[in-house]
Structure formats: structure tokens, C-alpha cells
Symmetry: C2
Subunit: 230 residues, 2 copies
């Protein structure tokens, strides 16, 4: 049966950008499971699957409804153990939580500043009225105050990727010799930036850039199928 | 047969401080393997096991000699598969490389500044003449220039632990429900700081502090057996 993925979009439904939804897209493709992407804009989220979650991604797999990208990956791993593993064992599942914590506290924190206006501009009209006050409340600052930090965050972004850059001296993927969900976690953050923002964040010749290029080619180029923001 | 661990010490052989050696101490205890700690000061390292490595830890296990903390952990995992796992599977082994890269590029980079003078003061006399020019060459700065950054690094250290702090909301160990080598990697950095430095780096009530207290109690209090620098 085809799994339904409820996935965040802006005004252009063909350009999904949510980092957490991208993680799930890659996880479903990694498992080789047939799935259908159902676009949802911010203000439609409360109606998804009877209001099961305040956020997307949400998947429906037959009678099962699961929210939260990590919980979805764990559900897929447990439900489809004979398909390619997303974690490479219990240790890998636990350590993917560390990668998630690093990605969110370091990369997302910066991208929330860098891409804020670009995200707002790409939303559906009904979402724009929701997005600004919601994000200003979450960050405790006005859009204008946040924008003052944008250039510094762009300039500091490359250094934040140092742990990944150092690790890539040992192996080609966070998962080792092939990608695992932990790769998709970091991919999600950088794909979000790639789809919504024109900020120059990845440099040619950097091992992280090479890794990201390999990521967007995975699973028949799922990531590359959405063009970079220009 | 008892495994021999060649472990870095300063003037006081009862206060081993090397983060990489501490990782191996914990890994050997985790595997429940009998081992003997052989103290080595910096200038003795070239003579260890016939000069097999420029650094310690080095272990001898019967006829096998292995250098480098991660390679030692991988060797123990492969050689003693029936004892408690250090990685929790292939994915965990791969992701431990990410944790290592994060710990070294973030925590070690800061601790190399914070603890530099305190390490130098604790070395054996013959090592002191080696240590300063070696570290000044590695860091590209004089001890005096490095010392200028010390206070700022102390003040910024807590924020560098944010990824671990965030992860601890999901689970008590980097390894999940119980510690794995990835925990020992980060423990090694903080135990190094604890043994050599009086800088206040961990705050009471912080989830990272609680995790570290759990770490030094592991394996019959191996970490706690060396008192904190005062």
C-alpha cells in the first residue's frame, strides 16, 4: 500500500522545503517504499489526519498515522526490518539523535536567521499572516532585528560544518560506507537552505559540498529534482 | 591474557590525563577485559612497543599491537564480539566517527587553549622542554598569545556542549539507554579537563554535568578514582 506523506509547501507546491519533511522523503526512498507526497501549507497543518500533530511531516501507512521525522524513521525501521536499514543497528539509532541535536542546534539555528525572509516570501498568502508573528514569538525578535544578524550568520556558516568536514576524512557518509538516516538529517537542513535561499553557504572544493552533491543525487536524484533557489 | 595499555602521564603517574587514553581505559573496562596501565611521559612515546606510533594510546594484546584510540576500539569490537558492544552495530561505529570529529573540532580545540598552561605545569621535567615548542608549532601561536584567549574560551565552553545537552532530552547516553564508545569519546575530553584544569567548565544542574557524573561513576568509578584538579 502506498504511504501518504503530508509535506509542507509554500505558494509553489512543486518546491517543498521543510528540512524535516525532506528527511522523511529520503527515508521512504531509502526503504524502497512507494509513497505519495501530499502538499500542505502551514495553516492547513492543524487539519492533517484529524489534527494529530502541530507539525508535519505526518505519514499514513494503512491504519497507522505517525508524526515527527525521527519517530517516522524509527517506525519505518521497526515496521520494515527486511528493507535497507536506516540506522545500522541500535547504536546507530541512538547516535542519530546526537546528529539531530547537532544539526538543529547548530545548522537550523543559523538557517532560521539566514533564510527567514526568503521563506516568508515563498509562502502561500494565507500562511504569510501566520508565519511572521509565529516566528517572531519563537525567536523573541522582530524580523528586522533578526535580519541584522543575517550576514554574520552567512559568513560563519562554513565553520559550523567543521565536525562533518573532519568526519569526512574518515568515511564518505555519516553512516559509514553508505548513507543512513543520520545523513538525511543533515541533508534536510542543507536542502532546506538550497531550495529557499540564495545565500552562498557551500563552497566548491569543500568535502561537505561534495558530500551534499552525493546526497542530492541519491535515490534517482530526488533532492536534485527541485532546482536550487537562484 | 592481560592487555597492556601504554598511557600518557605527567610528573604524577597516578594522574593520567590524556583524553584519548581515557577513551581506551573506558573501552577496555566496558569490554570487561583485564588490562594493565603502563605510564609513559611524552618524551618516552617514541620508544613504546618499538616505536610503532608517534602517539599513545598504544595497546599490546598478546602478539597484537594497536595504536590510535578509535582503531583500538574497533580492534576490541572485532576481536571480542561476544563481550558488550562498544558501538551497537555498524551504524553506531560509523556515527562514533561523527561524535569524535565534533568532540575534537569543538571541545578539544577549546580545551587546548583553556588547559594549555595547566598541562605544561604538570608534565615531567624532561617533557616540559618538548611540550612548549611542539604545541606552539601546532597552534601557530606562542603560549602567551594562546593565554589571551583563555577566559573567552572558558566563558564560551558551556555553549559548545549544546548538541549533547539537546540530545540528553531524548536519552541518557549518546549510546541510547546505556553508554557506548561515543560516550567515552566525549567523556575523554571532559575528563582531561577535570584532571588537569581548575577552570569552571560544567555547571551544577546542567544535563551535561549530570551525564558526566554518570560517566565518572561507570566501571566501578574508574574516572572518579583520579581526583579533580583543584
Amino acid at each position: 500500500m502506498t504511504i501518504v506523506l503530508h509535506e509542507l509547501v509554500g505558494a509553489d507546491e512543486a518546491r517543498p522545503f521543510s528540512p524535516h519533511c525532506w528527511k522523511v522523503v529520503m527515508a521512504l526512498a531509502h526503504k524502497g517504499l512507494p509513497f505519495e507526497r501530499k502538499p500542505v501549507c502551514f495553516t492547513q497543518v492543524p487539519g492533517v489526519e484529524g489534527g494529530v500533530s502541530k507539525t508535519v511531516p505526518v505519514i499514513r501507512d494503512g491504519s497507522q498515522v505517525v508524526a515527527d521525522s525521527f519517530m517516522i524513521a524509527a517506525y519505518l525501521e521497526e515496521t520494515y526490518p527486511d528493507r535497507p536499514s536506516l540506522f545500522g543497528g541500535d547504536g546507530g539509532q541512538a547516535m542519530a539523535r546526537f546528529v539531530e541535536a547537532w544539526s538543529q542546534s547548530t545548522l537550523h539555528a543559523a538557517l532560521n536567521v539566514i533564510a527567514l525572509h526568503e521563506i516568508a516570501d515563498r509562502l502561500a498568502p494565507e500562511d504569510q499572516a501566520y508565519f511572521r508573528p509565529s516566528r517572531e514569538a519563537r525567536l523573541g525578535k522582530t524580523f528586522e532585528q533578526i535580519a541584522e544578524r543575517r550576514q554574520a550568520e552567512i559568513e560563519g556558516f562554513g565553520a559550523k560544518l567543521t565536525p562533518l568536514r573532519v568526519m569526512l576524512k574518515s568515511q564518505p557518509w555519516i553512516g559509514g560506507s553508505s548513507p543512513l538516516f543520520a545523513d538525511y538529517i543533515v541533508f534536510g537542513a542543507l536542502q532546506w537552505a538550497r531550495v529557499v535561499s540564495s545565500a552562498p553557504l557551500l563552497e566548491a572544493g569543500d568535502a561537505v559540498t561534495d558530500w551534499f552533491e552525493r546526497c542530492i543525487d541519491l535515490h534517482d536524484g530526488l533532492g536534485r529534482a527541485v532546482a536550487a533557489a537562484g
